[in-house]
Symmetry: C2
Subunit: 311 residues, 2 copies
Protein backbone atom coordinates (compact mmCIF):
# COMPACT_ATOMS: atom_id res chain seq x y z
CA UNK A 1 0.00 0.00 0.00
CA UNK A 2 1.36 3.41 -1.02
CA UNK A 3 1.15 6.02 1.71
CA UNK A 4 2.55 9.44 2.65
CA UNK A 5 2.90 11.81 5.59
CA UNK A 6 1.50 15.30 6.10
CA UNK A 7 3.11 17.48 8.77
CA UNK A 8 2.07 20.89 10.09
CA UNK A 9 4.73 22.56 12.22
CA UNK A 10 3.41 25.14 14.69
CA UNK A 11 5.19 27.14 17.37
CA UNK A 12 3.89 24.87 20.17
CA UNK A 13 3.02 21.52 18.60
CA UNK A 14 3.78 19.62 15.43
CA UNK A 15 0.71 17.92 13.96
CA UNK A 16 1.35 14.80 11.88
CA UNK A 17 -0.82 12.53 9.76
CA UNK A 18 -0.27 9.34 7.77
CA UNK A 19 -2.42 9.08 4.65
CA UNK A 20 -3.27 6.49 2.02
CA UNK A 21 -2.83 7.60 -1.57
CA UNK A 22 -6.59 8.29 -1.89
CA UNK A 23 -6.44 10.75 1.01
CA UNK A 24 -7.85 8.41 3.64
CA UNK A 25 -6.18 9.15 6.97
CA UNK A 26 -4.46 6.17 8.66
CA UNK A 27 -3.23 7.89 11.81
CA UNK A 28 -3.05 11.37 13.30
CA UNK A 29 -0.91 12.50 16.21
CA UNK A 30 1.04 15.40 17.73
CA UNK A 31 4.48 16.00 19.21
CA UNK A 32 5.75 19.11 21.02
CA UNK A 33 7.77 21.71 19.07
CA UNK A 34 11.12 22.31 20.76
CA UNK A 35 12.07 25.80 19.62
CA UNK A 36 15.07 26.30 21.95
CA UNK A 37 18.62 26.49 20.48
CA UNK A 38 17.34 27.92 17.20
CA UNK A 39 14.91 25.01 16.86
CA UNK A 40 17.69 22.51 16.21
CA UNK A 41 15.64 19.55 17.49
CA UNK A 42 12.51 20.16 15.42
CA UNK A 43 13.47 18.21 12.29
CA UNK A 44 15.18 15.27 14.12
CA UNK A 45 12.10 14.99 16.41
CA UNK A 46 9.81 14.83 13.36
CA UNK A 47 12.02 12.24 11.67
CA UNK A 48 12.11 10.04 14.79
CA UNK A 49 8.35 10.25 15.25
CA UNK A 50 7.67 9.38 11.60
CA UNK A 51 10.03 6.39 11.76
CA UNK A 52 8.26 5.11 14.89
CA UNK A 53 4.89 5.27 13.13
CA UNK A 54 6.24 3.43 10.10
CA UNK A 55 7.29 0.63 12.45
CA UNK A 56 4.12 0.72 14.55
CA UNK A 57 1.92 0.36 11.44
CA UNK A 58 4.31 -2.22 9.91
CA UNK A 59 4.65 -0.09 6.76
CA UNK A 60 7.44 -0.47 4.22
CA UNK A 61 9.69 2.55 3.61
CA UNK A 62 9.74 1.61 -0.08
CA UNK A 63 5.97 2.21 -0.28
CA UNK A 64 6.27 5.71 1.20
CA UNK A 65 5.60 8.40 -1.41
CA UNK A 66 7.18 11.03 0.80
CA UNK A 67 6.45 13.67 3.41
CA UNK A 68 4.87 17.08 2.91
CA UNK A 69 5.31 19.77 5.52
CA UNK A 70 3.97 23.23 6.26
CA UNK A 71 6.05 25.65 8.35
CA UNK A 72 5.28 29.16 9.69
CA UNK A 73 7.65 31.09 7.40
CA UNK A 74 8.13 31.99 3.75
CA UNK A 75 9.59 28.94 1.97
CA UNK A 76 11.30 28.97 -1.42
CA UNK A 77 10.38 26.43 -4.05
CA UNK A 78 13.62 24.61 -3.11
CA UNK A 79 12.37 24.14 0.47
CA UNK A 80 14.66 26.73 2.02
CA UNK A 81 13.54 28.87 4.96
CA UNK A 82 15.32 32.14 5.61
CA UNK A 83 14.30 32.60 9.24
CA UNK A 84 11.17 31.69 11.19
CA UNK A 85 10.44 33.74 14.33
CA UNK A 86 8.00 31.11 15.63
CA UNK A 87 10.43 28.18 15.33
CA UNK A 88 13.73 29.89 16.12
CA UNK A 89 15.16 28.92 12.73
CA UNK A 90 17.63 31.10 10.87
CA UNK A 91 18.62 30.14 7.29
CA UNK A 92 17.71 26.47 6.99
CA UNK A 93 17.65 24.02 4.08
CA UNK A 94 14.59 22.30 5.49
CA UNK A 95 13.83 19.95 2.62
CA UNK A 96 17.42 18.79 2.26
CA UNK A 97 17.92 18.23 6.01
CA UNK A 98 14.71 16.26 6.45
CA UNK A 99 15.32 14.17 3.32
CA UNK A 100 18.72 13.22 4.74
CA UNK A 101 17.20 12.31 8.11
CA UNK A 102 14.39 10.22 6.63
CA UNK A 103 15.60 8.90 3.29
CA UNK A 104 12.29 9.79 1.64
CA UNK A 105 11.15 12.59 -0.63
CA UNK A 106 10.17 15.81 1.19
CA UNK A 107 8.24 18.91 0.03
CA UNK A 108 8.04 22.01 2.22
CA UNK A 109 5.63 24.94 1.98
CA UNK A 110 4.39 27.93 3.94
CA UNK A 111 1.79 26.79 6.50
CA UNK A 112 -0.98 29.12 5.32
CA UNK A 113 -0.44 28.06 1.71
CA UNK A 114 -0.41 24.40 2.70
CA UNK A 115 -3.64 24.77 4.68
CA UNK A 116 -5.23 26.35 1.61
CA UNK A 117 -4.27 23.30 -0.43
CA UNK A 118 -5.83 21.07 2.25
CA UNK A 119 -9.11 22.99 2.13
CA UNK A 120 -9.14 22.73 -1.66
CA UNK A 121 -8.55 19.00 -1.54
CA UNK A 122 -10.87 17.90 1.25
CA UNK A 123 -12.49 20.99 2.76
CA UNK A 124 -14.46 24.13 1.90
CA UNK A 125 -12.96 24.48 -1.58
CA UNK A 126 -13.38 20.85 -2.57
CA UNK A 127 -13.55 20.29 -6.32
CA UNK A 128 -12.13 23.71 -7.24
CA UNK A 129 -8.82 24.49 -8.91
CA UNK A 130 -8.89 28.27 -8.45
CA UNK A 131 -9.40 29.23 -4.83
CA UNK A 132 -8.22 31.78 -2.29
CA UNK A 133 -8.15 30.83 1.35
CA UNK A 134 -8.23 33.60 3.96
CA UNK A 135 -7.28 32.61 7.48
CA UNK A 136 -8.63 35.07 10.05
CA UNK A 137 -6.65 34.37 13.22
CA UNK A 138 -4.36 36.52 15.35
CA UNK A 139 -3.23 37.84 11.96
CA UNK A 140 -4.65 37.41 8.45
CA UNK A 141 -2.94 34.72 6.43
CA UNK A 142 -3.89 33.05 3.24
CA UNK A 143 -3.11 30.96 0.26
CA UNK A 144 -3.79 31.76 -3.38
CA UNK A 145 -4.32 28.67 -5.52
CA UNK A 146 -4.29 29.03 -9.28
CA UNK A 147 -4.99 26.04 -11.50
CA UNK A 148 -4.42 23.68 -8.57
CA UNK A 149 -1.08 25.13 -7.51
CA UNK A 150 -0.30 27.47 -4.63
CA UNK A 151 1.40 30.75 -5.59
CA UNK A 152 4.81 30.59 -3.89
CA UNK A 153 6.43 33.53 -5.67
CA UNK A 154 9.99 34.64 -6.33
CA UNK A 155 10.85 35.14 -2.64
CA UNK A 156 8.50 32.55 -1.12
CA UNK A 157 6.23 35.42 -0.10
CA UNK A 158 3.22 34.81 -2.38
CA UNK A 159 -0.25 34.91 -0.85
CA UNK A 160 0.59 37.43 1.90
CA UNK A 161 -2.99 38.60 1.64
CA UNK A 162 -3.06 40.13 5.13
CA UNK A 163 -0.75 42.87 3.97
CA UNK A 164 -2.58 44.39 1.06
CA UNK A 165 -3.54 47.98 1.81
CA UNK A 166 -7.26 48.64 2.24
CA UNK A 167 -7.09 52.02 4.00
CA UNK A 168 -4.66 54.70 2.82
CA UNK A 169 -5.81 57.05 5.60
CA UNK A 170 -4.72 54.71 8.43
CA UNK A 171 -2.31 56.29 10.91
CA UNK A 172 -1.56 53.25 13.12
CA UNK A 173 1.07 50.72 12.12
CA UNK A 174 0.58 47.05 11.25
CA UNK A 175 3.05 44.52 12.67
CA UNK A 176 4.74 44.51 9.25
CA UNK A 177 5.57 48.22 9.56
CA UNK A 178 3.09 49.47 6.96
CA UNK A 179 -0.21 51.23 7.58
CA UNK A 180 -3.66 50.19 6.38
CA UNK A 181 -3.03 46.43 5.98
CA UNK A 182 -6.09 44.17 5.79
CA UNK A 183 -4.77 42.41 8.91
CA UNK A 184 -5.37 45.61 10.91
CA UNK A 185 -9.14 45.24 10.43
CA UNK A 186 -10.00 41.63 9.64
CA UNK A 187 -7.91 39.58 12.09
CA UNK A 188 -9.20 38.74 15.58
CA UNK A 189 -7.03 41.54 16.98
CA UNK A 190 -8.12 43.85 14.15
CA UNK A 191 -11.78 43.28 14.98
CA UNK A 192 -11.05 44.10 18.63
CA UNK A 193 -9.34 47.30 17.47
CA UNK A 194 -12.38 48.27 15.37
CA UNK A 195 -14.66 47.43 18.31
CA UNK A 196 -12.70 49.53 20.82
CA UNK A 197 -12.70 52.52 18.46
CA UNK A 198 -16.43 52.22 17.91
CA UNK A 199 -17.21 51.68 21.61
CA UNK A 200 -15.14 54.73 22.59
CA UNK A 201 -17.47 57.02 20.64
CA UNK A 202 -20.68 54.99 21.01
CA UNK A 203 -23.75 56.20 22.90
CA UNK A 204 -26.16 53.38 22.04
CA UNK A 205 -26.78 50.52 24.46
CA UNK A 206 -24.68 47.43 23.74
CA UNK A 207 -23.73 44.13 25.37
CA UNK A 208 -20.11 44.74 24.36
CA UNK A 209 -17.61 45.90 26.97
CA UNK A 210 -14.63 47.84 25.62
CA UNK A 211 -12.32 46.52 28.35
CA UNK A 212 -12.80 42.84 27.53
CA UNK A 213 -14.27 42.69 24.02
CA UNK A 214 -13.11 39.83 21.72
CA UNK A 215 -13.86 39.07 18.07
CA UNK A 216 -16.12 36.24 19.26
CA UNK A 217 -18.04 38.67 21.52
CA UNK A 218 -18.70 40.92 18.52
CA UNK A 219 -20.19 38.17 16.35
CA UNK A 220 -22.09 36.63 19.29
CA UNK A 221 -23.64 40.07 19.83
CA UNK A 222 -24.38 40.35 16.10
CA UNK A 223 -26.43 37.15 16.39
CA UNK A 224 -28.42 38.86 19.16
CA UNK A 225 -28.93 41.81 16.81
CA UNK A 226 -26.92 44.18 18.98
CA UNK A 227 -26.84 47.37 16.86
CA UNK A 228 -23.37 48.44 17.89
CA UNK A 229 -21.92 45.00 17.18
CA UNK A 230 -23.66 45.00 13.78
CA UNK A 231 -22.06 48.37 13.02
CA UNK A 232 -18.61 46.92 13.85
CA UNK A 233 -19.36 43.88 11.69
CA UNK A 234 -20.23 46.22 8.80
CA UNK A 235 -16.83 47.91 9.13
CA UNK A 236 -15.10 44.51 9.22
CA UNK A 237 -17.12 43.40 6.18
CA UNK A 238 -16.29 46.53 4.22
CA UNK A 239 -12.55 46.19 4.78
CA UNK A 240 -12.44 42.47 4.09
CA UNK A 241 -14.91 42.57 1.19
CA UNK A 242 -12.88 45.36 -0.45
CA UNK A 243 -9.67 43.40 0.06
CA UNK A 244 -11.17 40.27 -1.49
CA UNK A 245 -12.34 42.29 -4.51
CA UNK A 246 -8.71 43.27 -5.07
CA UNK A 247 -7.58 39.66 -4.77
CA UNK A 248 -10.26 38.59 -7.25
CA UNK A 249 -9.05 41.15 -9.83
CA UNK A 250 -5.59 39.61 -9.60
CA UNK A 251 -6.23 35.87 -9.25
CA UNK A 252 -9.92 35.43 -10.22
CA UNK A 253 -10.82 32.50 -7.91
CA UNK A 254 -13.99 30.38 -8.20
CA UNK A 255 -14.37 30.45 -4.42
CA UNK A 256 -13.07 32.22 -1.32
CA UNK A 257 -12.68 29.88 1.65
CA UNK A 258 -12.72 31.68 5.00
CA UNK A 259 -10.99 29.94 7.91
CA UNK A 260 -9.20 30.62 11.18
CA UNK A 261 -10.63 31.31 14.64
CA UNK A 262 -12.79 34.26 13.54
CA UNK A 263 -14.56 32.03 10.97
CA UNK A 264 -16.17 30.06 13.82
CA UNK A 265 -18.76 32.86 13.83
CA UNK A 266 -20.20 30.95 10.87
CA UNK A 267 -22.44 31.98 7.97
CA UNK A 268 -23.24 35.41 9.46
CA UNK A 269 -19.62 36.35 8.82
CA UNK A 270 -19.90 35.50 5.13
CA UNK A 271 -22.97 37.71 4.70
CA UNK A 272 -21.08 40.79 5.91
CA UNK A 273 -18.10 40.02 3.67
CA UNK A 274 -20.13 39.15 0.56
CA UNK A 275 -22.17 42.37 0.78
CA UNK A 276 -19.12 44.60 0.36
CA UNK A 277 -17.35 42.20 -1.98
CA UNK A 278 -20.32 42.49 -4.34
CA UNK A 279 -20.08 46.26 -4.16
CA UNK A 280 -16.39 46.38 -5.05
CA UNK A 281 -15.78 43.34 -7.30
CA UNK A 282 -15.20 43.65 -11.02
CA UNK A 283 -18.11 42.48 -13.16
CA UNK A 284 -16.42 39.21 -14.15
CA UNK A 285 -15.78 38.33 -10.49
CA UNK A 286 -19.20 39.02 -9.00
CA UNK A 287 -20.31 35.38 -9.07
CA UNK A 288 -17.36 34.16 -6.99
CA UNK A 289 -18.62 32.01 -4.11
CA UNK A 290 -17.87 32.14 -0.40
CA UNK A 291 -17.46 29.10 1.82
CA UNK A 292 -16.32 28.41 5.35
CA UNK A 293 -13.24 26.28 5.88
CA UNK A 294 -14.26 22.84 7.14
CA UNK A 295 -11.06 21.02 8.16
CA UNK A 296 -10.18 23.20 11.16
CA UNK A 297 -6.74 22.39 12.54
CA UNK A 298 -6.36 19.42 10.18
CA UNK A 299 -6.17 21.56 7.00
CA UNK A 300 -2.37 21.73 7.33
CA UNK A 301 -1.73 17.98 7.46
CA UNK A 302 -4.14 17.32 4.58
CA UNK A 303 -2.54 20.03 2.45
CA UNK A 304 0.94 18.80 3.30
CA UNK A 305 0.03 15.27 2.20
CA UNK A 306 -1.49 16.66 -1.00
CA UNK A 307 1.80 18.38 -1.88
CA UNK A 308 3.46 14.97 -1.99
CA UNK A 309 0.62 13.33 -3.94
CA UNK A 310 0.74 16.19 -6.50
CA UNK A 311 4.50 15.96 -6.88
CA UNK B 1 11.69 22.64 -39.75
CA UNK B 2 9.15 22.98 -36.92
CA UNK B 3 7.44 26.35 -36.76
CA UNK B 4 4.41 28.08 -35.25
CA UNK B 5 2.30 31.22 -35.54
CA UNK B 6 1.71 34.01 -33.05
CA UNK B 7 -1.31 36.26 -33.60
CA UNK B 8 -2.36 39.43 -31.78
CA UNK B 9 -5.90 40.54 -32.58
CA UNK B 10 -6.58 44.24 -32.04
CA UNK B 11 -9.65 46.34 -32.77
CA UNK B 12 -8.12 47.81 -35.94
CA UNK B 13 -5.42 45.40 -37.13
CA UNK B 14 -4.44 41.80 -36.59
CA UNK B 15 -0.68 41.34 -36.16
CA UNK B 16 0.74 38.00 -37.18
CA UNK B 17 4.14 36.35 -36.93
CA UNK B 18 5.67 33.06 -38.04
CA UNK B 19 8.33 31.72 -35.69
CA UNK B 20 10.89 28.94 -35.64
CA UNK B 21 10.82 26.69 -32.56
CA UNK B 22 13.76 28.61 -31.02
CA UNK B 23 11.79 31.87 -31.18
CA UNK B 24 13.50 33.26 -34.27
CA UNK B 25 10.96 35.21 -36.31
CA UNK B 26 10.52 34.11 -39.95
CA UNK B 27 7.95 36.64 -41.07
CA UNK B 28 5.77 39.38 -39.58
CA UNK B 29 2.75 41.01 -41.17
CA UNK B 30 -0.63 42.64 -40.51
CA UNK B 31 -4.17 42.37 -41.81
CA UNK B 32 -7.15 44.62 -41.07
CA UNK B 33 -9.66 43.57 -38.37
CA UNK B 34 -13.18 43.48 -39.80
CA UNK B 35 -15.37 43.98 -36.75
CA UNK B 36 -18.69 44.45 -38.61
CA UNK B 37 -21.46 41.78 -38.30
CA UNK B 38 -20.30 40.77 -34.83
CA UNK B 39 -16.77 40.23 -36.15
CA UNK B 40 -17.80 37.17 -38.14
CA UNK B 41 -14.94 37.58 -40.67
CA UNK B 42 -12.11 37.88 -38.17
CA UNK B 43 -11.27 34.20 -37.72
CA UNK B 44 -11.74 33.21 -41.42
CA UNK B 45 -9.51 36.18 -42.43
CA UNK B 46 -6.80 35.02 -40.04
CA UNK B 47 -7.05 31.43 -41.28
CA UNK B 48 -6.79 32.51 -44.93
CA UNK B 49 -3.80 34.76 -44.24
CA UNK B 50 -1.97 32.02 -42.33
CA UNK B 51 -2.60 29.50 -45.12
CA UNK B 52 -1.21 31.96 -47.70
CA UNK B 53 1.98 32.39 -45.65
CA UNK B 54 2.43 28.62 -45.29
CA UNK B 55 2.33 28.40 -49.10
CA UNK B 56 4.49 31.47 -49.68
CA UNK B 57 7.25 30.12 -47.43
CA UNK B 58 6.80 26.58 -48.80
CA UNK B 59 6.22 25.22 -45.29
CA UNK B 60 4.62 21.85 -44.51
CA UNK B 61 1.42 21.87 -42.46
CA UNK B 62 2.69 18.70 -40.72
CA UNK B 63 5.63 20.69 -39.29
CA UNK B 64 3.36 23.37 -37.82
CA UNK B 65 3.27 23.17 -34.01
CA UNK B 66 0.16 25.34 -33.92
CA UNK B 67 -1.10 28.88 -33.58
CA UNK B 68 -1.27 31.01 -30.43
CA UNK B 69 -3.53 34.04 -30.32
CA UNK B 70 -4.21 36.96 -28.01
CA UNK B 71 -7.61 38.68 -28.11
CA UNK B 72 -8.93 41.78 -26.30
CA UNK B 73 -11.32 39.97 -23.95
CA UNK B 74 -11.32 37.59 -21.00
CA UNK B 75 -10.71 34.08 -22.35
CA UNK B 76 -11.39 30.83 -20.48
CA UNK B 77 -8.77 28.10 -20.38
CA UNK B 78 -10.88 26.31 -23.04
CA UNK B 79 -10.41 29.24 -25.45
CA UNK B 80 -13.96 30.56 -25.12
CA UNK B 81 -14.69 34.30 -25.26
CA UNK B 82 -17.92 35.55 -23.73
CA UNK B 83 -18.11 38.89 -25.52
CA UNK B 84 -15.48 41.33 -26.79
CA UNK B 85 -16.56 44.96 -27.19
CA UNK B 86 -13.54 45.75 -29.40
CA UNK B 87 -14.14 42.88 -31.85
CA UNK B 88 -17.92 42.73 -31.86
CA UNK B 89 -17.90 39.12 -30.68
CA UNK B 90 -20.61 37.71 -28.44
CA UNK B 91 -20.15 34.19 -27.01
CA UNK B 92 -17.56 32.53 -29.26
CA UNK B 93 -15.69 29.24 -29.09
CA UNK B 94 -12.59 30.84 -30.58
CA UNK B 95 -10.16 27.96 -30.21
CA UNK B 96 -12.57 25.39 -31.62
CA UNK B 97 -13.59 27.57 -34.60
CA UNK B 98 -10.04 28.43 -35.58
CA UNK B 99 -8.84 24.83 -35.17
CA UNK B 100 -11.61 23.73 -37.56
CA UNK B 101 -10.66 26.43 -40.08
CA UNK B 102 -6.93 25.66 -39.99
CA UNK B 103 -6.57 22.01 -39.01
CA UNK B 104 -3.79 22.86 -36.54
CA UNK B 105 -3.64 23.19 -32.77
CA UNK B 106 -4.76 26.61 -31.43
CA UNK B 107 -4.32 28.24 -28.00
CA UNK B 108 -6.13 31.49 -27.14
CA UNK B 109 -5.43 33.94 -24.34
CA UNK B 110 -6.26 37.45 -23.21
CA UNK B 111 -4.12 39.96 -25.13
CA UNK B 112 -2.59 41.62 -22.05
CA UNK B 113 -1.72 38.23 -20.56
CA UNK B 114 -0.22 37.08 -23.84
CA UNK B 115 1.90 40.24 -24.16
CA UNK B 116 3.19 39.59 -20.63
CA UNK B 117 4.29 36.13 -21.70
CA UNK B 118 6.08 37.66 -24.71
CA UNK B 119 7.97 40.13 -22.52
CA UNK B 120 8.98 37.29 -20.19
CA UNK B 121 10.24 35.20 -23.09
CA UNK B 122 12.09 37.75 -25.19
CA UNK B 123 11.65 41.16 -23.59
CA UNK B 124 12.01 43.10 -20.34
CA UNK B 125 11.37 40.07 -18.12
CA UNK B 126 13.68 37.70 -19.97
CA UNK B 127 14.95 34.82 -17.87
CA UNK B 128 12.33 35.23 -15.13
CA UNK B 129 9.53 32.83 -14.20
CA UNK B 130 7.68 35.12 -11.79
CA UNK B 131 6.81 38.43 -13.38
CA UNK B 132 4.03 40.98 -13.50
CA UNK B 133 3.58 43.08 -16.60
CA UNK B 134 1.74 46.38 -16.32
CA UNK B 135 0.59 47.95 -19.57
CA UNK B 136 -0.02 51.68 -19.22
CA UNK B 137 -2.07 52.63 -22.26
CA UNK B 138 -5.55 54.13 -22.64
CA UNK B 139 -6.35 51.84 -19.73
CA UNK B 140 -4.16 49.82 -17.39
CA UNK B 141 -3.85 46.18 -18.35
CA UNK B 142 -1.53 43.51 -17.22
CA UNK B 143 -0.51 39.94 -16.92
CA UNK B 144 0.53 38.08 -13.81
CA UNK B 145 2.94 35.23 -14.47
CA UNK B 146 3.60 32.70 -11.73
CA UNK B 147 6.12 29.94 -12.23
CA UNK B 148 6.12 30.56 -16.00
CA UNK B 149 2.34 30.44 -16.42
CA UNK B 150 -0.10 33.32 -16.82
CA UNK B 151 -2.88 33.48 -14.24
CA UNK B 152 -6.09 32.98 -16.24
CA UNK B 153 -8.45 32.42 -13.33
CA UNK B 154 -11.85 30.80 -12.91
CA UNK B 155 -13.66 33.29 -15.19
CA UNK B 156 -10.78 34.21 -17.51
CA UNK B 157 -10.46 37.48 -15.61
CA UNK B 158 -7.10 36.97 -13.86
CA UNK B 159 -4.57 39.79 -14.00
CA UNK B 160 -7.10 42.63 -14.23
CA UNK B 161 -4.57 44.76 -12.40
CA UNK B 162 -6.02 48.06 -13.61
CA UNK B 163 -9.05 47.53 -11.40
CA UNK B 164 -7.56 47.09 -7.98
CA UNK B 165 -8.65 49.92 -5.70
CA UNK B 166 -5.91 52.35 -4.65
CA UNK B 167 -8.07 55.23 -3.44
CA UNK B 168 -11.13 54.60 -1.30
CA UNK B 169 -11.92 58.34 -1.20
CA UNK B 170 -12.37 58.64 -4.99
CA UNK B 171 -15.73 60.06 -6.06
CA UNK B 172 -15.42 59.74 -9.87
CA UNK B 173 -16.21 56.45 -11.61
CA UNK B 174 -13.83 54.22 -13.54
CA UNK B 175 -15.03 52.74 -16.84
CA UNK B 176 -15.68 49.48 -14.97
CA UNK B 177 -18.23 51.19 -12.72
CA UNK B 178 -16.14 51.16 -9.54
CA UNK B 179 -14.33 54.09 -7.95
CA UNK B 180 -10.63 54.36 -7.11
CA UNK B 181 -9.28 51.86 -9.67
CA UNK B 182 -5.56 52.04 -10.48
CA UNK B 183 -6.56 52.73 -14.09
CA UNK B 184 -8.04 56.09 -13.00
CA UNK B 185 -4.54 57.38 -12.09
CA UNK B 186 -1.90 55.38 -13.95
CA UNK B 187 -3.27 55.09 -17.51
CA UNK B 188 -2.56 57.76 -20.12
CA UNK B 189 -6.05 59.14 -19.53
CA UNK B 190 -5.59 58.81 -15.78
CA UNK B 191 -2.41 60.88 -15.89
CA UNK B 192 -4.25 63.56 -17.89
CA UNK B 193 -6.97 63.55 -15.22
CA UNK B 194 -4.37 64.00 -12.46
CA UNK B 195 -2.71 66.77 -14.49
CA UNK B 196 -5.94 68.68 -15.09
CA UNK B 197 -6.85 68.51 -11.40
CA UNK B 198 -3.43 69.77 -10.41
CA UNK B 199 -3.35 72.51 -13.05
CA UNK B 200 -6.79 73.76 -11.98
CA UNK B 201 -5.45 74.66 -8.54
CA UNK B 202 -1.86 75.44 -9.52
CA UNK B 203 -0.27 78.88 -9.19
CA UNK B 204 3.33 77.98 -10.09
CA UNK B 205 4.68 78.55 -13.59
CA UNK B 206 4.54 75.45 -15.80
CA UNK B 207 4.95 74.48 -19.45
CA UNK B 208 1.80 72.34 -19.16
CA UNK B 209 -1.47 73.56 -20.67
CA UNK B 210 -4.61 72.16 -19.04
CA UNK B 211 -6.56 72.32 -22.31
CA UNK B 212 -4.19 70.09 -24.29
CA UNK B 213 -2.07 68.21 -21.75
CA UNK B 214 -1.17 64.58 -22.53
CA UNK B 215 0.66 61.94 -20.48
CA UNK B 216 3.65 62.44 -22.78
CA UNK B 217 3.61 66.21 -22.10
CA UNK B 218 3.76 65.53 -18.36
CA UNK B 219 6.84 63.31 -18.56
CA UNK B 220 8.53 65.52 -21.17
CA UNK B 221 8.08 68.41 -18.72
CA UNK B 222 9.42 66.25 -15.87
CA UNK B 223 12.61 65.81 -17.89
CA UNK B 224 12.86 69.61 -18.06
CA UNK B 225 12.40 69.67 -14.27
CA UNK B 226 9.07 71.46 -14.47
CA UNK B 227 7.96 71.55 -10.82
CA UNK B 228 4.27 71.13 -11.50
CA UNK B 229 4.86 68.18 -13.82
CA UNK B 230 7.10 66.62 -11.18
CA UNK B 231 4.31 67.01 -8.64
CA UNK B 232 1.89 65.21 -11.00
CA UNK B 233 4.46 62.46 -11.57
CA UNK B 234 4.75 62.01 -7.79
CA UNK B 235 1.00 61.48 -7.57
CA UNK B 236 1.13 58.98 -10.46
CA UNK B 237 4.06 57.22 -8.78
CA UNK B 238 2.32 57.02 -5.43
CA UNK B 239 -0.82 55.45 -6.89
CA UNK B 240 1.03 53.00 -9.13
CA UNK B 241 3.73 52.18 -6.57
CA UNK B 242 1.04 51.45 -3.96
CA UNK B 243 -0.85 49.28 -6.42
CA UNK B 244 2.26 47.29 -7.29
CA UNK B 245 2.97 46.73 -3.58
CA UNK B 246 -0.44 45.08 -3.34
CA UNK B 247 0.26 42.90 -6.37
CA UNK B 248 3.61 41.87 -4.88
CA UNK B 249 1.95 40.76 -1.63
CA UNK B 250 -0.30 38.48 -3.67
CA UNK B 251 1.97 37.13 -6.41
CA UNK B 252 5.53 37.97 -5.26
CA UNK B 253 7.16 38.57 -8.67
CA UNK B 254 10.91 38.82 -9.28
CA UNK B 255 10.35 41.74 -11.65
CA UNK B 256 7.70 44.23 -12.73
CA UNK B 257 7.81 44.98 -16.45
CA UNK B 258 6.21 48.31 -17.38
CA UNK B 259 4.92 48.67 -20.93
CA UNK B 260 2.34 50.49 -23.01
CA UNK B 261 2.42 54.00 -24.48
CA UNK B 262 3.10 55.75 -21.17
CA UNK B 263 6.24 53.64 -20.66
CA UNK B 264 7.90 55.44 -23.58
CA UNK B 265 8.76 58.12 -21.01
CA UNK B 266 11.57 55.71 -20.08
CA UNK B 267 13.63 55.24 -16.92
CA UNK B 268 12.33 58.43 -15.28
CA UNK B 269 8.95 56.71 -15.00
CA UNK B 270 10.44 53.78 -13.10
CA UNK B 271 12.09 56.07 -10.54
CA UNK B 272 8.74 57.60 -9.56
CA UNK B 273 7.09 54.18 -9.30
CA UNK B 274 9.93 52.49 -7.42
CA UNK B 275 10.07 55.26 -4.78
CA UNK B 276 6.51 54.64 -3.61
CA UNK B 277 6.70 50.89 -4.19
CA UNK B 278 9.60 50.77 -1.74
CA UNK B 279 7.56 52.70 0.79
CA UNK B 280 4.58 50.35 0.62
CA UNK B 281 6.03 46.92 -0.21
CA UNK B 282 6.24 44.14 2.35
CA UNK B 283 9.75 43.41 3.59
CA UNK B 284 10.10 40.22 1.53
CA UNK B 285 9.16 42.08 -1.67
CA UNK B 286 11.38 45.14 -1.40
CA UNK B 287 14.08 43.77 -3.70
CA UNK B 288 11.69 43.22 -6.62
CA UNK B 289 13.13 44.80 -9.76
CA UNK B 290 11.59 47.14 -12.30
CA UNK B 291 12.19 46.99 -16.04
CA UNK B 292 10.76 48.63 -19.12
CA UNK B 293 9.03 46.45 -21.71
CA UNK B 294 11.24 46.09 -24.77
CA UNK B 295 9.16 44.38 -27.46
CA UNK B 296 6.70 47.22 -28.07
CA UNK B 297 3.85 46.14 -30.34
CA UNK B 298 5.49 42.77 -31.00
CA UNK B 299 5.03 41.49 -27.42
CA UNK B 300 1.66 40.00 -28.38
CA UNK B 301 2.86 37.88 -31.30
CA UNK B 302 5.88 36.64 -29.33
CA UNK B 303 3.72 35.71 -26.34
CA UNK B 304 1.16 34.03 -28.58
CA UNK B 305 3.86 31.90 -30.18
CA UNK B 306 5.24 31.04 -26.74
CA UNK B 307 1.84 29.69 -25.67
CA UNK B 308 2.07 27.09 -28.44
CA UNK B 309 5.71 26.23 -27.69
CA UNK B 310 4.83 25.77 -23.98
CA UNK B 311 1.86 23.59 -24.73
Amino acid sequence: MSYCFGVDVGGTTVKLGAFKENGEIIDKWEIPTHTENEGVRILPDIAASVKEKIEAHQLQLADCLGLGMGVPAPVTSEGVVNGSANLGWKYKEVRKELEELLGISVVVGNDANVAALGEMWKGGGRGQKNMIMITLGTGVGGGVIVDGKVIVGAHGAGGEVGHICVDYDETEHCGCGNMGCLEQYASATGIVRLAKKQLAKEERKTVLDAATVTAKDVFDAVKQEDEVAMEIAEQFGEYLGSGLAILAAVADPAVFVIGGGVSKAGEVLLSYIAKYYQKRALFANKTTEFALASLGNDAGIYGAAKMILDK
